[in-house]
Symmetry: C2
Subunit: 219 residues, 2 copies
DNA sequence: CGTTTGCTTGATGTCACTCAATACATGTGG
DNA sequence: CCACATGTATTGAGTGACATCAAGCAAACG
């Protein structure tokens, strides 16, 4: 359905561990259906996660009933970190068949204590999560709606891993984009057509976008 | 000027280290003037930081000249983490005399490799940073301007460390709040008066706020 | 300088509707 | 019983009309 980023991840190959146990051996792989929960907001933080293939959304239902999406996770992304007892967010699979590596938290922390390379790996994962959120913050705070959508597209393309070609296949609906950017679906639709008419993007289909002029209004 | 949270931090007291070196001994304390740069966006990420007292803003200048504030750091907060060579953001002191503990990155990473408790400390700091950003995301994405300001106030009060009293002293100007929330200063002002007239907050002064009804529209 | 208010214009949310694609159950004829 | 068509409901996407809210400018206030 959309370009799978696969498992091409240099950081996550087999690595030297001093005691035989590595981070792979303590993880379990789970596959999720579309819209299936990975965890809910009131669950305990007993696991860490990493996307192998597919995509997930981290969201929260506001008191007024709106759904706020805080993050989209793509292959290679870590998530589920928390210093509290419970995550404040729920996470759902977006794509049918999303595969996620699940790491039991206590065991992984113990492994990190004994193996500095594991600690380093987790550290890099959290650093990447911080940068993802910071970029996301810039995108969300873009004032004009079309520019916000465009910033999202550029950011998303950069995350998917630019492979030279310009075509970008969105795994998410307009509704998801709206809840991620704090806009209404209608405004997102209008932003897409606006960007297309102004020549900033071209649409081969609703989910198939080509960014033509990423320069204007990049940040 | 505003309530100093001081240094009351259990995690950061002297801790057991196996080789005599602890994270305190490799850090240096620096004091900054108001609006003085801690680092700029194109600088290399050679240091990690932690606020001891005062406050800082992490910001970035957009291509259209607007200043986007991505985070406010308060005492106890770690910042400066990045998996890239350079931070994409600049950080400035907000409060005169802001004191920051600076940790040389390579040395701290080496210390983390040899001392699991240091690695754990850094991990907790990054987890807290992630949660800060996620909460910030929820605040920024609140649709209505008054509700967004109110969400900011509630979030900020929770971060400053609720000590029972309701009074909240803001270390930052309306302009900073505007750039943090993606609003104009005028709209922030109007939101303050609107919240005051509706009885949600009371203002003892421009920087002295009391949150009366945090419940409505909390998230 | 930081904060606040009034006024106007423009942008966005809301409501309503259309359109296309899909899935699923039902019906019909061989 | 099976193959194939039809009707219906559902979902995602796009558009238009209208009211509302926030930005921008100006000016006053402390």
């Amino acid at each position: 359905m959309f370009r799978s980023s696969g498992c091409a991840d240099p950081d996550f190959g087999p690595h030297n561990s001093r005691n035989g146990k590595d981070i792979h051996s303590i993880s379990i792989l789970r596959t999720f259906h579309r819209d299936q929960d990975v965890f809910e907001c009131d669950h305990r933080c007993d696991w860490w996660y990493r996307i192998v293939s597919g995509a997930t959304r981290k969201y929260r239902i506001r008191s007024d009933g709106r759904r706020q999406i805080a993050d989209i996770h793509l292959p290679g992304d870590f998530f589920g970190f928390s210093s509290n007892e419970k995550h404040g967010f729920s996470v759902q699979a977006i794509v049918e068949g999303t595969t996620i590596a699940c790491y039991p938290r206590r065991m992984t922390e113990a492994l990190a204590d004994s193996d500095p390379s594991v600690a380093r790996l987790i550290r890099m994962g959290t650093f990447a999560a911080i940068e993802r959120l910071e970029q996301q913050m810039l995108v969300v705070s873009t004032t004009s709606a079309p520019e916000r959508v465009k910033a999202f597209l550029v950011h998303f393309r950069d995350r998917v891993g630019r492979s030279g070609e310009d075509g970008l296949a969105l795994p998410i609906t307009r509704y998801d984009i709206a809840d991620l950017l704090g806009l209404s679906t209608e405004t997102v639709c209008r932003a897409f057509t606006d960007l297309r008419e102004r020549g900033a993007i071209s649409l081969e289909g609703p989910r198939q976008v080509t960014i033509i002029r990423p320069g204007s209004g990049k940040d």
